[in-house]
């Protein structure tokens, strides 16, 4: 575990190929980033079901909606900054409101986009998307769970947003892993502090738990891949077992996964928490790893947050 890396985008392309072979109703719509997103591989096998609309993200979303209205399962996407970031009206009024079968799968979430800088680093998408009625939000932890999740949601009616990472990320799951919609995965049992993470912060959480263990602190790790609908039982359970919670996400700490966890715990089991995430600021250019360190998104930051919590009296 974690010794290999793989790209979520490659996994997305693989999943699309399998879905395309399994059903004639699967269509793919792209916006001039289909090579980067790997959705373009779909065109090699199923050119009659693949549509590139050019650099027109509003149109991308609405055309996918039109295809879903006519009975298709439409996978559409580009970089995250251009979908939730640029097309919120189309997503809300064309997809979420009529509850259409459109799966928005976007790459380049968060600041790990790197050198392109803040204009391309979407740190608000989870907040935007989870605030929309009917919309489901998934942030997979690795390539294996990406492929499994993409295949799973094709069979679940209604709109989804799936956020992927640009960079290759450590592989968390074994090859046979089966994604289960809405069911968080407890990757590690623990009793002193619960770390709830999503996306590429999941491997960071696992590393943090190892470091904490070496210091005699027992940390649980929960992969909260499905942020909406949130797995209330799993969140409450880990809070009960550990008494303290750290959330870790590559997103603004306002409105994201940590906020979703705080909403659940605030109502169901008030628990001391710390949120590791982007601290309400924009990113900048730089190599992904350097930015993750600079913006406090590493295993060390999670470990620090956990240590701080453990010295806070409840």
């Amino acid at each position: 575990m974690l010794s290999k890396t793989a790209a979520m985008r490659d996994a997305y392309g693989d999943a699309l190929l399998e879905l395309g072979a399994a059903s004639r109703d699967v269509v793919v719509v792209g916006a001039d980033t289909t090579g980067s997103l790997k959705s373009g591989v779909f065109a090699t096998k199923f050119p009659e079901r693949f549509f590139n609309v050019g650099i027109a993200e509003n149109n991308l979303v609405s055309i996918a909606a039109g295809m879903a209205l006519a009975g298709k399962v439409a996978f559409a996407g580009t970089y995250a900054i251009f979908v939730p970031g640029k097309s919120v009206d189309q997503i809300r009024n064309n997809i979420a409101y009529p509850n259409l079968n459109v799966k928005l799968v976007c790459s380049h979430g968060g600041i790990s986009v790197g050198p392109d800088g803040a204009s391309h680093q979407q740190v608000e998408d989870i907040a935007i998307m989870r605030s929309m009625p009917k919309m489901k939000v998934i942030v997979p932890a690795d390539a294996v769970s990406t492929k499994s999740a993409v295949k799973a949601i094709a069979a679940i009616p209604g709109p989804f947003y799936v956020r992927l990472t640009r960079a290759s990320t450590p592989v968390v799951y074994d090859a046979g892993f089966q994604y289960e919609f809405g069911k968080a995965n407890l990757l590690k049992e623990g009793s002193d502090v619960g770390i709830i993470a999503c996306g590429l912060m999941v491997p960071e959480a696992l590393k943090a738990a190892e470091s904490l263990k070496a210091r005699g602190v027992s940390a649980a790790v929960l992969d909260l891949h499905t942020i909406k609908p949130i797995d209330v039982d799993a969140v409450v359970k880990v809070a009960k077992q550990c008494g303290r919670i750290v959330t870790a996400e590559e997103h603004n700490i306002l409105g994201g996964m940590g906020s979703a966890v705080a909403e659940v715990l605030g109502e169901q089991r008030p628990t001391l928490m710390k949120r590791v995430g982007v601290k309400d600021t924009f990113g900048e250019s730089g190599e992904a790893g350097e930015l993750m360190r600079k913006y406090g998104l590493t295993a060390a930051d999670i470990e620090q947050a956990a240590s701080n919590l453990l010295t806070t009296s409840s």
Binding site: V27, V53, N58, N59, S62, M67, A68, A70, Q90, Y97
Partner: protein, 273 residues
């Protein structure tokens, strides 16, 4: 049916459509008469002469699809759907009321409504997606969409226009209700659109201009659209905002001001003339 008889039938339907629009809006106390009244003949021709649809089976797979992109003209579409038999005409009298079937703008769950509308500039893209599916699966249905003229100021309209010609969607017919008036005033003052037909021709569309109140021109326009190959068609219907009610015609105020309930019988009497 003889053309003259057919036109007489459509004229009577148009008159009744205007009556239903005004009654519904007066009862609702809010809503948009101007852009509903302007496009009556266009949509009456489409629903009662052109489209293949079945009010008894609204989800018939091979039905032609209509998208109202100018969603504020909902009273027009609802009045037509009610006369077609998609739902009871009495529903029109609870337009915009809490818990009612008929929402202020089109929404899912209303029989005969294909998609929600209300945010301008989006409907053409929906029609493009639907027409693409018909092409892909070799199915016989066509997609129709009615846009406003003010709506042409939205950038997404032109994204969709490019896509429709790229994909050679000859099963797609778009319409513009060219009444020249938007909420704040004249389109040519707020954000000029002309030369509008030339713009669409430059986007490789088959463009047809018609008098929006001449049924034979409108019918011919739809015929031409259906027989055109490899290109989508745009019908620009030259219309009058508030058409049929003298004090509403050409008056930007009546974009979004309904007739007063206590003046309704006077207003409707104009339609009898």
């Amino acid at each position: 049916m003889e053309t003259a008889q057919e036109i007489a039938r459509l004229k009577e339907t148009a008159r009744n459509t205007r009556k239903l629009i005004l009654e519904a809006l007066a009862e609702a106390g809010s809503g948009h008469p101007g852009g509903s009244l302007s496009a009556v003949e266009l949509l009456v021709t489409l629903y009662f002469h052109v489209m293949r649809h079945d009010p008894k089976n609204p989800k018939w797979e091979d039905r032609d699809r209509f998208f109202l992109s100018k969603g504020h003209a909902a009273p027009l579409l609802y009045s037509i759907l009610a006369q077609s038999g998609y739902f009871r005409a009495e529903e029109l009298m609870s337009l915009r009321k809490t818990g009612a079937l008929l929402q202020g703008h089109p929404s899912m769950g209303i029989p005969g409504i294909e998609a929600p509308a209300g945010s301008e500039g989006i409907g053409l893209s929906l029609a493009v997606g639907t027409a693409l599916v018909a092409k892909m699966d070799n199915r016989p249905f066509r997609a129709y969409v009615l846009m406003g003229d003010g709506e042409q100021q939205e950038g997404q309209v032109w994204e969709a226009a490019m896509a429709a010609s790229k994909f050679r969607l000859d099963n797609l017919t778009a319409m513009i209700d060219r009444n020249g008036i938007q909420q704040d005033g004249l389109t040519e003052q707020i954000m000029p659109l002309e030369p509008l037909a030339a713009k669409w021709r430059a986007f490789n569309w088959n463009v047809i201009e018609v008098d929006g109140y001449d049924f034979s021109q409108i019918m011919d326009g739809f015929d031409l659209a259906t027989s055109t190959r490899n290109r989508p068609t745009l019908i620009i219907a030259h219309t009058v905002k508030g058409k049929g009610i003298s004090f509403m015609e050409w008056a930007p105020k009546y974009h979004g001001t309904p007739p007063a309930k206590d003046k309704l019988s006077d207003v409707l009497s104009e339609l009898e003339r």
